[in-house]
């Protein structure tokens, strides 16, 4: 068990591409940290550098206070779980799990005891004599985990370990991973491109984009106080709505109406180089059917009317899609997020607004409905830099803050 420190770690390839740029990260002993981001953001490269499978171009990597930049993977005492599971096909489950112990030259009895213990934890005891080819995906995944835990390494590194499982099993294994990590208390670095996994698993989440860290923090903090447009758009499902907003006479002109601004945001916008156009971000759950809002709440937000496009009833609440007119919000970050979601060439006409309303709402498709939204939960982003303008000392305060 150990802490892992990345000190300005960078990775560049001979052809000049920079995969990872000046990553600073301190992972405490026993902490569960998630690296998340779209494909090509450098998260796997970062993990491979921690494992020693890729050389570090510059910067320093310390495991348990010791510089390990030049150490071979086998001398770093870390265990890795791969997306492909990487089980040795010629060995049985038992042999697979015993492999690292055999390499460490432990005696037979100890090896057997440790393998049996790990197999019990992961409910693999009845499969110990099978070959990987005769296991299901979930079982293979558990063997891969077992091979990692038998050795009691300083840290676990997991590279999208659940991505090859089907949706249901993935949710199940998520809790297994989470419980296992808590039980063992081993420092864990976990790479995923799935923001749900990131939100549910980690003590802290590191969001990466283009080789650089965007924001580091506990999942809830990233969700509530995104530092920039990219983080705001990446975290959350369905994702945050983004609308074009023009600054006009101390207020904002948007497709949802004239949004008033508090003193603080107004001051930000008064400086000479302040953007004249902004992107307004608001999460689906910060909308509500105007009929269901009491007066006290109503004062904290504003209302608009829009035609209902589609209603998806989830039982506990309703996802309602509205068609709002007006210019589409555009920024490099948003395009990248759309590309990652595979929807770059499929945006639809106009700005479709996703809202999450109470189940009691009587909203129906085809209606024009009055909807309330919470001004305190609004985020405003500079389209040029992506910076969240409503963020003050790390906290998002909405549009009205004084």
């Amino acid at each position: 068990m150990a802490d892992i420190v990345l000190d300005k770690v960078s990775k560049s390839f001979p052809d000049g591409t920079v995969a990872v740029q000046d990553v600073d990260l301190e992972i405490a002993d026993g902490e569960f940290v998630i690296l998340v981001g779209p494909s090509g953001c450098g998260k796997s490269t970062t993990l491979n550098m921690i494992a020693g499978l890729e050389d570090i171009s510059s910067g320093e990597l310390r495991i348990a206070g010791q510089r390990v930049n030049d150490k071979a993977p086998r001398d770093r005492d870390i265990a890795m779980v791969f997306q492909s599971y990487a089980l040795y096909p010629n060995m049985t489950v038992r042999e697979n799990m015993a492999f690292p112990l055999r390499l460490a030259k432990l005696d037979k009895e100890t090896i057997n005891r440790k393998v049996d213990e790990a197999a019990k934890v992961l409910e693999l005891t009845s499969l110990l004599d099978r070959k990987p080819a005769n296991l299901s995906g979930g079982q293979r995944q558990r063997v891969a985990m077992g091979r990692a835990i038998v050795r009691q390494p300083k840290a676990f590194l997991m590279d999208e370990p659940l991505s090859n499982l089907d949706a249901k099993l993935r949710v199940q294994m998520r809790t297994v991973v989470s419980r296992l990590q808590k039980q063992l208390g081993t420092t864990t670095v976990y790479v995923t491109h799935d923001q749900t996994e990131a939100m549910t698993l980690g003590d802290r989440v590191v969001i990466m984009r283009g080789g650089a860290v965007q924001q580091v923090g506990p999942p809830q903090e990233l969700y509530d106080h995104p530092r920039n447009l990219f983080v705001a758009g990446f975290i959350g499902s369905p994702s945050m709505n983004f609308l074009h907003a023009a600054v006009q006479d101390g207020g904002l002109h948007t497709a949802l109406g004239e949004v008033p601004l508090g003193d603080r945001v107004r001051r930000e916008l008064e400086s000479a180089d302040a953007p004249r156009e902004l992107i307004l971000g608001i999460r689906p759950e910060h909308f509500e059917d105007a009929e269901l809002v009491d007066d006290d709440t109503r004062r904290r937000g504003m209302e608009f009317e829009a035609p209902v496009d589609i209603v998806e009833s989830m039982g506990s609440d309703k996802y309602v899609y509205f068609t709002v007119e007006g210019e589409k919000a555009s920024a490099a970050e948003l395009e990248e997020l759309a590309a990652d979601a595979g929807a770059a060439d499929f945006a639809g006409a106009g700005g479709n607004l996703v809202t999450r309303l109470s189940a009691e709402s009587t909203v129906a498709e085809g209606q024009t409905r009055r909807v309330w939204f919470n001004l305190e939960k609004i985020h405003l982003f500079d389209p040029g830099t992506g910076r969240n303008l409503t963020l003050h000392e790390g906290r998002a305060a909405g549009a009205l803050a004084d």
Binding site: A51, G52, A72, F82, A86, R147, N164
Partner: protein
Amino acid sequence: MSADTVEKSTTPTVPTQRGGRRKPPLSENKKAERKLGLLLCAPAALVMILVTAYPIIYSVWLSLQRFDLRFPDQREFIGLDNYVTVLTNEFWWTAFGVTMLITVVTVAVELVLGMGLAIIMHRTLVGRGLVRTSALIPYGIVTVVAAFSWRYAWTPGTGYLANLFSDGAPLTERASSLAIIMLAEIWKTTPFMALLLMAGLALVPEDLLKAASTDGATAWQKFTKVMLPVMKPAILVALLFRTLDAFRVFDNIFVLTAGGNETSSVSMLAYNNLIRGLNLGIGSTMSVLIFITVAIIAFIFVKLFGTAAPGSDDSERR
């Protein structure tokens, strides 16, 4: 990763699959499909029968006769007498021993060298094409041409190798002749071995090696405990090909020693009896015996070592 690979790996033999398919009555569609399959196979099967099956059967027929072209009148059917003659003859067993020695030594050396070459070709990042092409040059040269260049190189007085390494005439002594024959064989076919092994190397998933690294394996342990087992099917195919090939060694011996000083292989012996000696009966008998030996070698590889036929999907890969 799917269920069908799981099934295949538990039942690696074909019969179960075929048996399972036979049980239910065939639908119209299946029947038509099967008919089409047979029709598509027919031309190839016909050609094979004409150019392969017929000569084999004919030589078996010849081997059962006393048939010497110098004494055509004495031709008669004599059953297995020719086989008794050959199998009790010391020249045959000497040639058989020589062939076996050449086969075992060359294939073993080629495996080691070929593996090294394959790894180099696989790992090379700069000038990959150049490295691969130059490694394959020996294989691209006609064997007889290469054999002549070896012969000249070992000819006393004019050959550079003879001048460098030997005082006498190495191709006139049995041990050194055999060594030179094997050297020529190895030089010639190692690239072929390397090529087959390189295909096997490509089957080793990168993740597996990474996993072994983090599990604490040294480079050598990664090679022996991870790469070799995963490559086993490819290695066996390469060995099978080369063993069958090496057992029929002919051209190098023909050019280098012409079988002198008891360096004849069984193929040389069969040639000498059949073509030079004009003894069709004895020559055919030897050919049939070579054919049987080769078949036995192939059988051992496929049945005992479980070599997969090239091209067939093997579940071991994952």
